[in-house]
Each structure stands twice: as structure tokens, then as C-alpha cells.
């Protein structure tokens, strides 16, 4: 019988404290579920954001779906929702060939919010982040300095979620804090 005291807990790589810069506030996001969904020819389906255009996302609460390429979606949900989400994928796609890979622990999210958030991101992100070019509901893989990130803008608020691989989180977080300071 397994000793309860040995049961492991999730240990995120970044602390939880946000910076105090109100013009561009940087805060590590809590742990959640992330699934990488790969499927071809599913654009006709409406659930799970499968009908989104490439580089667009939909979001509601902790749930989101971001279409990162012609056959690639990043699905997000609250920490307890892994089975629910997998169930929804099964219901939506039936027998259709797909790949679903749990990347909840691979991805780490940092949020940056405030009137200077886009300028701070532009310290390392070469994309045009103006409202016209990167409006609410935009989502794409891109670069932040020397790290690859997924940049998500769920709403029209100046709030961006930056997702990166776990071992890049310290760099990405540090980069954003420095960028926010000098934006």
C-alpha cells in the first residue's frame, strides 16, 4: 500500500507573485490542463474551436482553444478537467484519426496585462501587436527574444497570455519583467 505521505504534488517552475508594475503587470498563471490536438479535415466541426481560422482562439473562463496551424490546436482547461476535455474530444471527433497529447506539464503560462503590455511584448516579439493586426481572439506561435512562445490574446483587454515550454519559463518570465520595466 502506498504511503499517503509519498503522494506527489504539482510543483510549477515559477513563483506565483505578480510584479507591481501597473502599466505592464507580469504574473505567472496557475497550473492547468493543456492538450495538443492534431487532426486533419476537422474545420467543418464547430465544437472545441475546430472551426476557428488559423491563428485565432476562443476562450471562456479557463477553457480555451487556439488554432496554431492548419491541423493543430492547443486546448486549455482547468486543472481538474483533463478527463472532461478528453471526453469532449472523443465526442466531437468520433473515429476520426487524430493525435491527442497531454502537454499540461510541458507548457507554462505567464500573463502580462496593462496599457504597456503590448509594448513590453514587443521588446522581444517581432509581430505587430496593434489592435488592428492582433485583435481580441488572436493566438499564434512566435518568438519572444530567444524563446519560442505561444501568444494568446483572449479578449479585447490589454491582457496577453504567453505560453512557453517549462525550461524556458524562467527566461520568458525574466524577459517580460525586464521588458515591462523598460517599456
Amino acid at each position: 500500500m502506498l504511503d499517503r505521505s509519498l503522494v506527489a504534488r504539482r510543483d510549477r517552475p515559477l513563483g506565483a507573485a505578480p510584479t507591481s508594475n501597473d502599466r505592464a503587470r507580469v504574473a505567472p498563471a496557475p497550473a492547468g490542463v493543456r492538450l495538443s490536438l492534431r487532426v486533419r479535415g476537422a474545420e467543418g466541426l464547430s465544437s472545441l474551436g475546430l472551426g476557428l481560422a488559423i491563428n485565432r482562439m476562443s476562450a471562456e473562463g479557463e477553457r480555451f482553444s487556439a488554432r496554431l496551424g492548419p491541423d493543430e490546436w492547443l486546448l486549455g482547461a482547468g486543472e481538474a478537467e483533463l478527463e472532461t476535455l478528453e471526453g469532449e474530444i472523443a465526442a466531437a471527433l468520433g473515429d476520426r484519426f487524430r493525435s491527442v497529447v497531454d502537454v499540461s506539464h510541458r507548457n507554462v503560462a505567464v500573463e502580462i496585462a496593462g496599457p504597456d503590455a503590448a509594448s513590453a511584448l514587443n521588446a522581444g516579439c517581432p509581430l505587430d501587436l496593434s489592435d488592428a493586426a492582433f485583435p481580441a481572439g488572436s493566438a499564434t506561435r512566435t518568438l519572444l527574444g530567444k524563446a519560442e512562445i505561444v501568444l494568446l490574446r483572449p479578449t479585447a483587454e490589454p491582457l496577453y497570455r504567453v505560453e512557453c515550454w517549462r525550461s524556458f519559463a524562467t527566461y520568458v518570465h525574466g524577459f517580460l519583467v525586464e521588458a515591462a520595466r523598460t517599456a
Binding site: I54, L68, G69, E72, P126, L127, T140, R141, T142, L143
Partner: protein, 97 residues
């Protein structure tokens, strides 16, 4: 820094991409049927033109898709980009010709 028109994502900065050399060099379906000379040609010989060149690019830090582009090797101007499996609409210069 160039701007490259990904067929899936639109115009993006060069740093998100990586070039994969000359395009339209299909891997033989049966390499064992090629003699040594033909196989060496397939592996190592490229056209290297001064002018329009069809080349492979991947939107590595974007949608992750390979696609093709026609680029002028003299001016660095991109003439067109198109999806893998498609053909360019511009004639390509071939320095071997």
C-alpha cells in the same frame, strides 16, 4: 530582416522561419533503383541560380508548416510562396541549364 508570406499565417518576420534549401527535389520512390551517380546527383547537386530560385521554407516558430517560395537570390525579394505539393507560377532560373 525579410518578411515572408506564410501560406497559412500571412506575412511574418524572417526570424520565425528556417530555409530548407532548394525545393522540388522529390525523394525517389525507390532509391535502390538509382545508380551511384544518380543518387549522388539527388543528394548533393543543387541549381544555385543567380535569380529566381524555388526553395523550401518552414514556418518553424509559427504554424510549423513546410512550404515553398520563389526568391530572387540577387535582390532577396520573394516573388511568391505556395504550399508544399504545389507548383510555382513563375519560371525558375536553373544555373545548371
Amino acid at each position: 530582416m525579410l518578411l515572408i508570406d506564410c501560406p497559412f499565417c500571412g506575412t511574418r518576420p524572417e526570424t520565425e522561419f528556417r530555409c530548407g534549401g532548394e525545393a522540388h527535389i522529390a525523394r525517389p520512390t525507390d532509391p535502390s533503383a538509382l545508380d551511384d551517380g544518380a543518387w549522388a546527383e539527388h543528394l548533393f547537386v543543387r541549381s544555385n541560380p543567380r535569380g529566381l530560385h524555388a526553395e523550401r521554407w518552414i514556418h518553424a516558430h509559427g504554424c510549423g508548416r513546410w512550404f515553398n517560395a520563389v526568391r530572387d537570390t540577387y535582390t532577396d525579394r520573394f516573388v511568391e510562396t505556395y504550399k508544399a505539393g504545389e507548383q510555382p507560377s513563375h519560371p525558375i532560373d536553373d544555373a545548371r541549364a
